[in-house]
């Protein structure tokens, strides 16, 4: 009951389009000049002190990007983006690569405090009951702090900004960077390859179970800035890692671009669990402003019996274009995708997954829950395919959509392709509204329409919430209630 009351209180206390993380931080920053050309790419590379091969890699990506066209197939509509009117690099002004938190701008730390991100290890250590989470915080384009590094190093786990990994572990970065999402993969991934600024790098060595949750917090602060982070996670044979990602941005009238790339590599018997709570600024109630979120996330189950699981709670962004995928290459590998996508106001979501079954006896499972309210459009787009050699492949897909209000839309576009008779695919989708009976039942027992809706929605998404690490699940549940604000009545 306490949890319910908390949800209700939270819902009541917030105005229709209140976005809790809508503040911006006044902080001095170093920016590259507006626009994009080879010099900017070289500038970014030089700022990071990158080796020549990486500079060349970026330039190659940039040149290819020039020949590519923006994808238009998704069910999202937005004015043309002027890619020359953006800043491609912005960093808080401070000594590059802070050695400890004391060197980090206190203003920045206050920002993360407001966001509720536990950056200070001692604070976390002081609270005996809190589960420990190592955090890498990325502010605009650069990583500002990574916690618990020493303790992770003891276990052999490398967890650091990718720009640092380029310096300290070049062989790993060079081997795996772009091996899951090739440079030429798609328009936004190619752009990211050219201008990516920072992100997290994780390597879990053979047989190691990562001793704590790893987490990255992304924050866009500057105006007219694109954020292009790049995350690379490698789980070596028999290892396990759970990784969380959260995102927020200040409220601004204009749209901001976010084009990230995440690559996961799981070798034999390794497991990666990747959870996202995406809460970028969604724009105001009239559809002004908000983040354009064009993200390429892909996991490669390269080894035998490897396992990659994506869990996402998408409540933010004006536009979401995101398909976390699994390439099930290793025999016996498994892929999972659990998603909650909530859209309200004028948000547009086009999200889903790809499960490509290449190896024998590979399994995948897709559970997608879409909730649309207001004037939003929410699309699930997914692909499941079995190649000729994928004997014994299995897939189960369930896509459910819930509609709240007469002006929103919910769409389902699955592609299910089988070239192997022993592959067994099952797909199910439903669309419905919150039933009057359920609402009546809840309201008759004293809940307001809004409380009753929140209760029913939380039940609707429970299958996915259960997949999230505990502290994220609580946060996500609240987030969903808040996102649906003002959608009832």
């Amino acid at each position: 009951m306490a949890a319910r009351q908390e949800t209700v209180a939270r819902v009541e206390s917030i105005d229709v389009d209140a976005y809790k993380y809508g503040f911006s931080t006044d902080i001095e920053s170093v920016k590259a000049p507006k626009g994009l050309n080879e010099d900017i790419v070289r500038f970014i590379s030089a700022k990071k002190g990158e080796p020549q091969w990486l500079t060349d890699w970026r330039l190659d990506a940039y040149r290819r990007w020039l020949t590519m066209a923006e994808p238009r197939w998704a069910r999202v509509h937005y004015p043309r983006i002027d890619f020359q009117d953006l800043y491609y690099y912005s960093a808080p002004k401070s000594t590059p690569g802070p050695k400890s938190l004391d060197e980090v701008d206190p203003e920045l730390l206050r920002t993360y405090e407001k966001l509720g991100i536990p950056l200070r290890e001692q604070e976390i250590l002081a609270g005996v009951e809190t589960r420990r989470v190592a955090v890498d915080a990325v502010f605009d384009s650069v990583s500002v702090a990574t916690t618990f590094k020493a303790e992770l190093a003891k276990a052999g786990v490398i967890f650091c900004p990718i720009s640092e990994a380029v310096q300290t572990h070049p062989e790993l970065v060079r081997k795996y960077l772009g091996s899951v999402v090739p440079v030429t993969d798609n328009f936004y991934a190619t752009l990211n390859s050219a201008v990516f600024s920072d992100g997290s790098f994780v390597y879990v060595p053979k047989g190691v179970r990562c001793p704590m949750e790893l987490s990255t917090y992304f924050r866009i602060n500057e105006q007219n800035t694109g954020q292009f982070e790049r995350t690379l996670i490698i789980a070596d044979e028999g290892s396990y890692v759970s990784y969380l990602e959260g995102c927020t941005a200040p409220k601004r009238d204009e749209n901001q671009l976010h084009a990230a790339v995440v690559e996961l590599v799981a070798l034999d018997d390794a497991e990666i669990k990747y959870s996202t709570v995406q809460n970028w600024y969604p724009g105001d109630s009239e559809g002004r402003g908000g983040i354009y979120n064009f993200v390429t996330k892909r996991g490669d189950c390269r080894g035998r019996n490897s396992h990659i699981s994506w869990t996402q709670v998408e409540t933010g962004s004006a536009i979401t274009w995101k398909y976390p995928s699994c390439i099930l290459r290793g025999d016996g590998s498994q892929g999972e995708f659990y998603s909650i996508a909530v859209s309200n106001g004028y948000q547009q979501v086009d999200s889903g997954t790809k499960m490509l079954h290449l190896g024998k006896n590979t399994k995948s499972r897709i559970i997608s829950k879409g909730i649309s309210a207001g004037h939003s459009q929410n699309t699930y787009r997914g692909q499941v395919s079995a190649h000729r050699k994928a004997d014994g492949a299995r897939n189960f897909t369930q896509c459910d959509s819930l509609l709240i209000g007469p002006n929103c839309g919910a769409h389902t576009v699955p592609y299910i392709e089988s070239k192997n008779p022993s592959a067994q695919f099952e797909h199910e989708a439903t669309t419905s509204k919150i039933s009057e009976d359920q609402l009546f039942y809840a309201m008759q027992r004293g809940l307001s329409a809004e409380e009753a809706t929140a209760l029913i929605v939380n039940g609707f998404v429970r299958d996915v919430l259960q997949q999230l690490p505990m502290e994220f699940a609580v946060e996500a549940q609240k987030l969903i209630s808040i996102s649906l604000e003002g959608s009832v009545g």
Binding site: W73, S401, L403, I404, G405, P406, N407, C408, G409, A410, H411, T412, V413, P414, Y415, I416, E417, S418, K419, N420, P421, S422, A423, Q424, F425, E426, H427, E428, A429, T430, T431, S432, K433
Partner: protein
């Protein structure tokens, strides 16, 4: 207008020059303009992603010329037959004189020559299927076909069979279009038969336009057969249902070559109901594509689709089904199901069931599965002494029959069951 680049399109352009003054100039011009914008669709056209018509078509076969052949066609069931042979309506092969009261039939050619406005406007697809280039091409190039008008309130007991056949010894292109209009409260059963009498790789583009006035009911059975490896058949069905109208349809697709059946159905009045079921029996290198757009434009509509793909050898099945619920089409109820059985290592299935929903008080769902015969069930049957192939046949038959349950006409259902049995016994004897 974009200039047509390929050789195929240049040939089609010469067909258009030949047909443009043969009635309904505005409909033809609109169709040609729409086709010219996109050309022959290839894999890059989203709705044709799994059927690369451009590659399959290569160079279009010459436009069909009327054959004078006097044929005697066997009858598979007791229907009143209206025959279009090699792109031309053949009254001599048809049961025109035996049509019951309340049914008026004429050739499309005559109807276009007379130019009755209500027939012309019914022939135009309006905005249903407007995006499809091959349907547009059909409007531009239609040679002949049948126009049937059923009087309001008429209840026609005997089925009307629209037979479209190709008999030429050399490959030809045919463009035919049929129109069936049911007056208010009318009832009828239509059988749509597409077949080939020769082994030439014909290229057929046919369309059947159905207009159901309020309260009308149509039972439709479609049967595709014949066809050879290089043959191409694209059959479009346009169904427009007014308030309270109902269509109950089933299609059996067998034969060879490239087949695409595309259905554009719109429930354009309240309380309309549509059932589109179908089964595909794939053998050899059959490519069978069923693409369905079920458009709920008005409230309280109901739609049901059950499709079964049974794919042997190197056959490829495609099912693309989209249920659209337009803004305001509240209380819509839609359920779509597509199941596929892969019987050989080389068979393949592509399923793409879609929902596009713009109203909140609706109930829509779809299911799609793909796999092979259940091992446990096979074991159960073989353990009881059935040879393996016969055990498979029994299971396949049951699987196909699930899609045939809604056929009300006993005689037609028996005919289709026989076709399934014949297909299965050929499989057993191999």
């Amino acid at each position: 207008m974009i200039k047509l680049a390929s050789e195929a399109e240049a040939t089609l352009s010469s067909f258009y020059e030949e047909m443009r003054d043969k009635g309904a100039p505005r409909l033809r011009a609109a169709g040609w303009a729409s086709f010219s914008e996109s050309g022959v669709p290839n894999r890059r056209v989203e709705s044709w992603h799994y059927t690369d018509l451009k590659t399959a078509m290569g160079r279009p076969a010459p436009l069909a010329t009327a054959s004078r052949a006097a044929l005697s066609l066997p009858r598979a069931h007791d229907s009143l037959r209206l025959v279009t042979l090699d792109g031309v309506f053949r009254p001599d092969l048809s049961d025109i004189a035996r049509l019951p009261d309340g049914v008026i039939a004429q050739s499309l050619r005559d109807a276009l020559a007379q130019g009755e406005p209500h027939v012309l406007s019914a022939l135009a697809s309006a905005d249903i299927g407007a995006q499809d280039p091959i349907l547009a091409l059909n409007a531009a190039l239609m040679q002949d076909g049948v126009v049937i008008q059923i009087a309001p309130g008429a209840a026609i007991d005997r089925a009307l069979e629209l037979t479209t056949l190709a008999s030429a010894e050399a490959a030809q292109s045919t463009y035919t279009r049929a129109l069936v209009m049911l007056g208010e409260g009318a009832r009828a059963t239509v059988v749509e038969t597409l077949g080939a009498l020769s082994s030439a790789p014909a290229q057929d583009n046919c369309a059947l336009v159905l207009r159901l006035a309020p309260g009308a009911r149509l039972d439709l059975v479609t049967h595709f057969s014949g066809g050879v490896d290089q043959a191409i058949r694209v059959a479009s069905l346009l169904a427009h249902l007014d308030a309270g109208a109902m269509i109950n349809s089933f299609a059996l697709i067998e034969g060879e070559g490239l087949n695409r059946r595309q259905i554009f159905a719109r429930l354009d009045g309240e309380n309309a109901r549509a059932v589109f079921n179908g089964a595909t029996l794939g053998r050899g290198r059959l490519h069978a594509d069923t693409t369905l757009i079920m458009d709920h434009a008005k409230p309280c509509g109901e739609s049901r689709e059950v499709f079964r793909n049974i794919l042997d050898d190197q056959s490829v099945g495609v099912f693309q089904g989209k249920v659209i619920v337009r803004p305001g089409a509240q209380k819509t109820d839609g359920v779509m199901q597509s199941k596929a059985l892969l019987l050989s290592e080389q068979a393949a299935m592509n399923n793409k069931p879609e929902l596009e929903i713009f109203a909140d008080d609706v109930q829509c769902g779809h299911g799609a599965t793909c796999g092979r015969l259940d091992k446990d069930q096979l074991f159960y049957l073989t353990a009881r002494g059935l040879p393996r192939r016969e055990a498979e046949a029994l299971l396949i038959e049951g699987f196909a029959n699930e899609a045939m349950d809604a056929i009300e006409d006993e005689q037609l259902r028996a005919f289709l069951s026989d076709r399934v049995s014949a297909w299965l016994s050929r499989r057993i004897s191999r």
